[in-house]
Amino acid sequence: MMALLEVNNLKMYYSVRRGDVKAVDGVSFEIEKGESMGLAGESGCGKSSMATTLLRLLPNNGRIVDGSIKFNGQEILTMPEEQFRKEYRWQKMSIIFQGAMNALNPVLRIGDQIAEAIITHENASKAEAKKRAGDLLEMVGINSARYRNYPHEFSGGMKQRAVIAMALACNPDLIIADEPTTALDVMVQAQVLEAIQDLRKKMGLSMMLISHDLSVIAQTCDKVAIMYAGRIVEYGPAKMVYNAPMHPYAYGLLSSFPDIKAPKSPVQSIPGSPPNLLEPPSGCRFSPRCPLADAKCRTVEPELEHLGGNGHLVACHKAGQLGKVGERA
């Protein structure tokens, strides 16, 4: 069966005065129908650029250099803008931004912002769209009487739920959630995640969840891709990646989160800082920070390879030797 979303060797660069920032540099992954994938990594590793690339919403200095994105087998990168706007944006793929911040227009009514998406994509009358927007609000637990409220009249969690309702407005096949819970406090975060999960299961939606918070991904995703400096370094079923990370970076990332059940121990951090994406290091991009790196790592770029079985892929020359990292720590 064909995957819902197939991304192949995607490269997206931002041109700046000093050259190209290689924000997404040869990324491939697939999302099946109904599946949820987490995209994790540090700030600035290219996660959010991935989201804007999928919806073709690049800023003026961003351009797609190579690769393909297929949605239901249909190439969407080369499609005429007007067709993509009308048939794909929101209709097939919608996005949940950090709504607690500024994803909603402060001077327009919340309900109208939802209804607007319906009117744009479907032959719905205004009254019909309004009614459906009200139903969507109810679905995420907001009284439809608050249709006429403005964003500043909502709490952070309510705004985020309104943004989720908006994302569901046109019954999309795929939802891209870009740090959907980052600005929320932990209690609200849990409620919002639960709401997303419920609706997703009910409607059979696929999701790509972008987050720097691995616990959020662990809670919600079937599959996880760990991104480092514009590339995916480890990719596979969430359970396998979490229980047995094979890439030193993934290992470092996972051990930088405290485990509340384990005995108290200092939180691990990864020494050094992410590379400059204008001139990424040669060879493996993680090599300057990697405790296992040797001459080969610094010259030959590792490919994503099947190493763990069951779709567990990793891009590391030292993938088998991870035990040593643990010993050092």
Partner: protein
């Protein structure tokens, strides 16, 4: 805070400003050097005649008494008699007001329309050469001194190629017939309106462009685009709508200029309006006339600011107070 107490606070605030302005307006002419009756007396007059004139205009009374008389007459909208023409200042102002409102109202309307459209257009073409041209042109025309541009226009289109009248509000004597009179007014309006639009459209265009560029960089614009809205709708419904509150405020704040007139423009085009009246009155130390004109302008400014405050509240839901809806 509910809406009526909000309005009440604005009213009190406006009244305080009014009292301060009126007070300054009174004393500023008293401390100015010069003698107000100098302009109307003949050097041959005897000191007794001069004293009588002072007496007649109330200038011999103590200052505080003059002040209270002044306050009392302001309340009844009695602006007194002009020293130079001996006619009621109110009549003189009302006579000139339509001319000024016509000239500056039309100019302001066109400036705003052109300026805002150009600003939105420039913002939508961010980074292109069209945008640089528009910003450059706006800055340049805004920097040109008003009198210089107007004199050049007069020289070219009034003198070298005499297709427009060089002075006045209408032909003297006015042509016969409504239609002919209308055309005559338009004919006299073209040059001054054109020059004002050229000078002023830039600030509207630049302001709109900057506000739009900022708005277009907001997260909710990405959301709007992600929703698959057309470019036009994102630009007008989302970006422009969000900068509307400050723009509307600016429009209201610029309305008083319609009444106060453009002193330079009216002087250069010999326009029979409030601006030139103010200038003449000040030059001739015609206290009642100048004070009256200033009072008039201050009143208009305060009223427009007050309205701007209210309208801002209506167009920006974030400061809309007690609208009846909500939690």
């Amino acid at each position: 805070m509910n809406f009526s107490s909000y309005i009440l606070r604005r009213v009190v605030y406006a009244l305080i400003v009014l009292v301060v302005i009126v007070t300054i307006n009174f004393f500023i002419f008293r401390v100015m050097p010069g003698d107000p009756v100098r302009m109307i007396i003949d050097p041959k007059w005897t000191p007794e005649m001069k004293a009588a004139l002072y007496e007649q205009y109330g200038l011999t009374k103590p200052l505080h008494e003059q002040f209270f008389i002044y306050l009392k007459s302001l309340l009844t909208l009695d602006l007194g008699l002009s020293f130079t023409s001996s006619r009621p200042v109110m009549d003189e102002l009302l006579e000139r007001l339509p001319n000024t409102v016509l000239l500056l109202g039309i100019a302001l309307f066109i400036e705003i329309l052109i300026g805002i459209s150009i600003g939105i257009f420039a913002a939508s073409k961010r980074g292109s050469s069209i945008e640089s041209f528009v910003t450059g042109a706006g800055l340049f025309t805004h920097a040109v001194p008003t009198f210089f541009l107007q004199l050049v226009l007069l020289l070219i289109f009034g003198f070298v190629i005499p297709i427009f009248p060089i002075r006045g509000t209408m032909a003297a004597p006015p042509p016969v017939g409504g239609w002919a009179q209308f055309l005559d007014r338009v004919h006299h309006l073209i040059l001054p309106v054109f020059s004002l639009v050229v000078i002023n459209f830039g600030s509207w265009a630049l302001y709109t462009r900057n506000a739009m560029v900022e708005a277009l960089g907001q997260d909710y614009i990405i959301t709007a685009r992600a929703k698959g809205l057309t470019k036009k709708r994102v630009l007008r419904h989302h970006a422009f709508r969000s900068i509307l509150p400050p723009i509307v405020t600016l429009i209201f704040l610029s309305l008083p200029s319609i009444i106060s007139g453009a002193v330079v423009t009216e002087t250069i085009f010999s326009w029979y309006g409030v601006g030139r009246y103010l200038l003449d009155a000040t030059m001739k130390q015609d206290y009642p006339a100048a004070q009256g004109a200033f009072y008039f302008i201050a009143l208009a400014t305060i009223i427009c600011n007050f309205v701007a405050d209210i309208v801002y509240g209506l167009v920006d839901p974030r400061i809309r107070v007690g609208g009846g809806e909500g939690k």
